[in-house]
């Protein structure tokens, strides 16, 4: 990483989380055009522009240390955020391999992986870890492999088994969800998991997405973007602690919307896993305050238009009912009606 790692910001309490000017400009705006509707927006997860969040398969940004610390706090309070069924052990090791290979190849100054047969040596400099272990032997790691590696990765991670022409959610580390629960979804099929999503089922989106994913190939990962909005930079917007963040949803006003309300993009990556023939699903979350959105003229116009014209069912599903009018009112002052250029680049 050629960025300075932030060390002290938090995703709770005082909510000191903030993005540097460079992080604002690399934010993955989830709207390539001025309107939004569901689609099977899956594309190959190939390397994107230098410095972008898709330059490498697994992005590591200025919030790396802070986000790993936030994860540790959440697990300590609620150990059920990390779970895996017994038959998912090979998928756990597959995920560990993916994480270590990707980080060490993308950021060699920060992470080093040395392999001699099954004897592996892992160094994580930002977190100060130095671990010798035997690949395939859970007793050689301080935690089970999925927990060990995902404590060192940003984003949530779900592992799925493939059988009966379906994908089954049977393991994962989920400490930063946009209002869903690993504990609740464990054991669900692909469509059960996506059951609460409106409109998509009728559109056939999940039929097509499932069919596509069942044929996902090794070495050909794919990605898509999803989005929602969160009041305060509250990474862990989970149903488990709704009493803590739910009331915040009534606190947004025209005066504080710029710093309180955050656009929340999920960069979702899917990899076929080699030994287990399962699939790992990454949900990497990026948050940007509405004020920071407004600092980029093109984004201010675009997000204003998307929110203004959003389908009512999506407004409700994404939990935007209360504060969308406030965000639209705030952003409208930056929208002079001039066109936006295609794509998400700031211009």
């Amino acid at each position: 990483m050629n960025v300075a790692l932030k060390m002290d910001q938090v995703y709770r309490g005082e909510y000191t989380f903030a993005n540097s000017p460079a992080a604002i400009r690399r934010f993955p705006l989830p709207f390539p055009e001025d309107r939004y509707m569901y689609s099977v927006n899956i594309e190959p997860h190939v390397a994107g522009p230098k410095g972008s969040v898709i330059e490498f398969p697994i992005d590591c940004d200025e919030h790396y240390v802070e986000e790993c610390r936030e994860r540790a706090i959440v697990i300590q309070q609620d150990p059920l955020r990390i779970q895996a069924l017994p038959h998912m052990m090979s998928a756990q090791w597959d995920t560990l391999e993916l994480g270590m290979q990707s980080l060490s190849q993308s950021y060699p100054d920060q992470f080093t992986l040395t392999r001699a047969g099954r004897h592996w040596h892992w160094i994580n400099r930002p977190l100060g870890l130095n671990q010798h272990f035997t690949f395939g032997d859970p007793a050689s790691l301080p935690q089970p492999p999925l927990e060990y590696i995902t404590r060192q990765l940003q984003g949530d991670w779900v592992i799925m088994d493939q059988r009966d022409n379906d994908l089954w959610v049977e393991g994962g580390m989920v400490t930063g969800p946009a209002d869903w629960s690993m504990d609740f979804d464990m054991g669900m099929s692909f469509k059960e998991w996506h059951g609460p999503v409106p409109l998509g089922h009728e559109m056939g989106v999940f039929d097509r997405a499932l069919k596509f994913l069942l044929n996902l190939r090794l070495n050909e990962p794919v990605r898509r973007y999803n989005w929602t909005m969160t009041v305060n930079p509250n990474l862990d917007s989970s149903p488990h602690n709704y009493p803590e963040w739910g009331p915040d949803r009534t606190s947004v006003t025209l005066e504080n919307v710029a710093r309180k309300l955050h656009l929340r993009t999920e960069l979702q990556g899917l990899w076929r896993l080699p030994r287990s023939n399962g699939i790992v699903f990454m949900v990497r979350t990026y948050m940007l305050s509405v004020g920071d959105v407004a600092s980029i003229p093109k984004w201010a116009r675009r997000v204003h238009r998307v929110l203004r014209d959003l389908h009512p069912a999506l407004v409700d599903y994404k939990g935007l009912t209360r504060h969308r009018p406030i965000a639209v009112a705030y952003l409208s002052q930056f929208d002079d009606g001039s066109p936006t250029t295609p794509g998400i680049a700031p211009e």
Binding site: D94, E97, R163, D164
Partner: protein, 321 residues
């Protein structure tokens, strides 16, 4: 969402062994570091660049998923060969360089099975050889039944007897000794998964028996690697690409499309996975469906075709490709 298959792995053949007069065993080593990890039951596509044609044949990986220094495959010489197996038998020797696609598993072990019943016929033993490495490390019971034409044709009888003396049984047609499929399938404990890989007739018998006995489809797994059937030549127009091409009698429609420079999708090349499905715009004759993916209604509708194994009895077929 189309997927390109340009991303192959260059390999070198480091050993060739004639296991029987019809079967050769090849050991492949990567020219670019370690080979990718895989799961038992996976196959690779071997790309063979012949003088006239490019062949892409699927072969099961039979080596241990834990040993990634090389991959091992076995090739049965099909007679008459469409070209691929003859190429492997005649042209490929130690030192030959080939390309392979990343492994794909369409025949994986069910992780929730309470017992695995493996039924192999002839060269169909190969995916099970890789799976046995995984099974030996698990605590789930399993048994293997391996049928060959004769002891001489049984490429891996000795290997199986040595590796699995307790949990395998060998059968030879020459001794009038056949797998009692109905008998086996009728006395399995609840939660058993059955897997069959072998000649088409054997697969059909197992599927029929399982259905008659009330096995759930989700517990019955099979893998066919039939070569694409041959037939009369015909012409094809690819509407979207604006390309006209000719399919030779011993060439598959998919191979002809690839030879014309179109990067068509595929996974199994055996008419099973449905990945290469193409939309038929018109045909001045009849489609010859050889796949196991489309339903009978879909086949009758004439709107889709699986180019990896199916062809047409016509002068011109127009596809939306």
């Amino acid at each position: 969402m189309s997927q390109s298959h340009a991303d192959t792995i260059p390999v070198r053949v480091v050993a060739v062994e004639e296991v029987t007069p019809q079967i050769k065993h090849f050991t492949l080593q990567s020219l670019a570091g370690e080979l990718p990890a895989f799961s038992g039951g996976s196959h690779i596509i071997v790309v063979m660049r012949g003088a006239q044609r490019v062949y892409r044949n699927p072969y099961s990986l039979m080596s241990s998923p834990n040993e990634l220094e090389n991959y091992q495959i076995s090739v049965l010489r099909v007679d008459p060969s469409r070209g691929g197996s003859a190429f492997m038998h005649e042209q490929v020797r130690v030192g030959t360089e080939l390309e392979i696609a990343h492994p794909v598993n369409l025949f994986g072990l069910a992780k929730l099975a309470r017992k695995h019943l493996l039924l192999a016929g002839g060269i169909g033993i190969t995916p099970f050889l890789a799976q046995l490495h995984d099974l030996r490390m698990s605590e789930v019971p399993y048994e293997l039944h391996y049928a060959t034409r004769s002891p001489q044709h049984g490429a891996y009888c000795q290997l199986i007897s040595r590796l699995e003396p307790q949990r395998s049984r060998l059968y030879h047609d020459s001794n009038r000794h056949f797998i009692d499929i109905d008998g086996l399938l009728s006395q399995q404990p609840l939660g058993t998964h059955v897997y069959v890989c072998g000649p088409a007739g054997m697969i059909t018998r197992v599927l029929d028996s399982a259905r008659t006995l009330g096995w759930p489809d989700s517990h019955v797994h099979y893998e066919r690697f039939a070569a694409p059937p041959t037939g009369a030549a015909f012409d094809v127009r690819l509407q979207k690409s604006g390309i006209d091409l000719h399919v030779l009698p011993d060439q598959s429609l998919l191979e002809a499309i690839e030879a014309a420079g179109v990067d068509a999708p595929y996974l199994c090349r055996g008419g099973v996975c449905g990945f290469c499905r193409a939309e038929v715009l018109s045909v001045d004759g009849e489609l010859v469906h050889n796949d196991h993916f489309l339903s009978n209604d879909e086949k009758a509708s004439g709107k889709s075709i699986m180019p990896c194994v199916s062809r047409a009895r016509c002068s011109t077929l127009v596809l939306n490709l």
